[in-house]
């Protein structure tokens, strides 16, 4: 039976060595390039006509714009509008990476913690910098909830700081674990289809069909959760409760 974890292996396609740094194009890098290209094509070609009454493709492009714009308006408010380009890019990148990864033989780079943790770290550092720039030292009042007796402060402040620091970890683990678990599960069931033969093979096959549909849901949901949490963090940074 094929190894269900083989699909996550990173293979070097074009070896590039920049001094000490190994900057080779791997299959993960290739699929990132593909993802960005597909998004660019989807949006620019979709909006090519710019008709007042959108066609199917244009309305899909507009729908994704409206979806993120509404998400920012609901969760951050009007001050969040200037962060729209970042949040929109983030959402489209994750969503298309997840969806392209569902194509057979494609590589899902969101199933790698290195990728998701980098994205989460960018969000986390960016949000922290925004908060400090906007609120200066008042930002650190975040770590002591108001109305807490000072006796509790030495215990509570470390807990709040840890809780704050755990944000990028939980953000990245959630996306990576979902994608990795789904793809592994699909491969495990797929590995049973042929060995069980024409009589028993139908059971894992039908499970796989159901899992594929479920994976489409997860692909969208995880992109949504990642962006919605980014919006909530932005809201915290801007309004500081």
């Amino acid at each position: 039976m094929a190894n269900p974890l083989e699909q996550f292996q990173i293979k070097t396609l074009v070896p590039i060595q920049l001094g000490e740094v190994d900057a080779s194009l791997t299959n993960a890098g290739l699929f990132m390039v593909i993802t960005v290209t597909v998004i660019s094509l989807f949006l620019t070609l979709g909006m090519r006509q710019k008709s007042l009454i959108p066609g199917r493709w244009q309305s899909m492009a507009e729908l994704s714009y409206e979806f993120i714009a509404g998400m920012i308006r609901d969760n951050v408010g009007s001050e969040g509008r200037k962060y729209f380009p970042f949040v929109f890019s983030l959402f489209m990148f994750i969503l298309f990476a997840n969806l392209i990864g569902l194509i057979p033989y494609a590589f899902t780079f969101t199933s790698h913690i290195a990728v998701t943790f980098t994205m989460a770290m960018v969000v986390f550092l960016g949000v922290t910098v925004i908060a400090i720039v906007r609120h200066k030292l008042h930002f650190f009042s975040l770590f002591l909830p108001s109305g807490v007796p000072m006796v509790m402060a030495p215990v509570l402040i470390p807990i709040e700081v840890l809780s704050y620091l755990s944000r990028p970890i939980s953000l990245s683990i959630r996306l990576f674990a979902n994608m990795m678990a789904g793809h592994t599960m699909m491969k495990v069931f797929a590995g049973f289809i042929v060995p069980l033969g024409i009589i028993g093979g139908w059971a894992p096959l039908s499970v796989d069909v159901a899992l594929t549909a479920f994976e489409f849901l997860v692909a969208f949901l995880q992109a949504y959760v990642f962006t919605v949490l980014t919006c909530l963090y932005l809201n915290d940074a801007i309004h500081l409760h």
């Binding site: 408010g77 009007s78 975040l142 509790m152 939980s170 919006c231 915290d236």
Partner: protein, 135 residues
């Protein structure tokens, strides 16, 4: 809505669009309702789980690193394990209660920030350290 009306002019539509846009911009109070209801049970379960685990990873990681760096036996690991568990439970509580992911949640009424007069900080720190370091 009937289709018998004569088609509107584009200028008319434009002014109405502007009005609607202004209204939707002004009407929202920020941070009032994070989109919670749309989440399914599965994603909620995953979220709560990772929330707990992530805080533990951070706590144990910091503790392990401090011990490795300062060569102080298991003590920082022990202390930060418990702090991490506390942070994890706090995260779960917040996520489940729908308070957003807010660190330092404040009551909307405000005016409670003047509790800073007492200086019991050193007391608590010592109590904490002597418990873990006293053997």
């Amino acid at each position: 809505m009937s289709d018998n009306k004569p088609p509107e002019t584009l200028e008319n539509l434009d002014t109405r669009l502007h009005q609607a846009r202004e209204k939707s911009r002004a009407g929202k109070t920020p941070g009032s309702s994070p989109g919670k209801e749309e989440m399914s049970g599965y994603s909620m379960a995953i979220r709560i789980g990772t929330e707990m685990v992530a805080a533990l990873i951070v706590g144990v990681g910091i503790g392990y690193f401090l011990d490795y760096w300062l060569d102080t036996g298991p003590w920082f690991l022990v202390v930060f394990f418990f702090l991490g568990s506390g942070a994890g439970i706090l995260n779960v509580y917040r996520a489940a209660n729908g308070l957003g992911m807010a660190v330092g949640y404040k009551e909307p009424s405000g005016g409670v920030s003047e509790h800073l007069s007492r200086d019991d900080t050193s007391d608590g720190v010592n109590g904490n350290n002597s418990k873990s370091g006293g053997e």
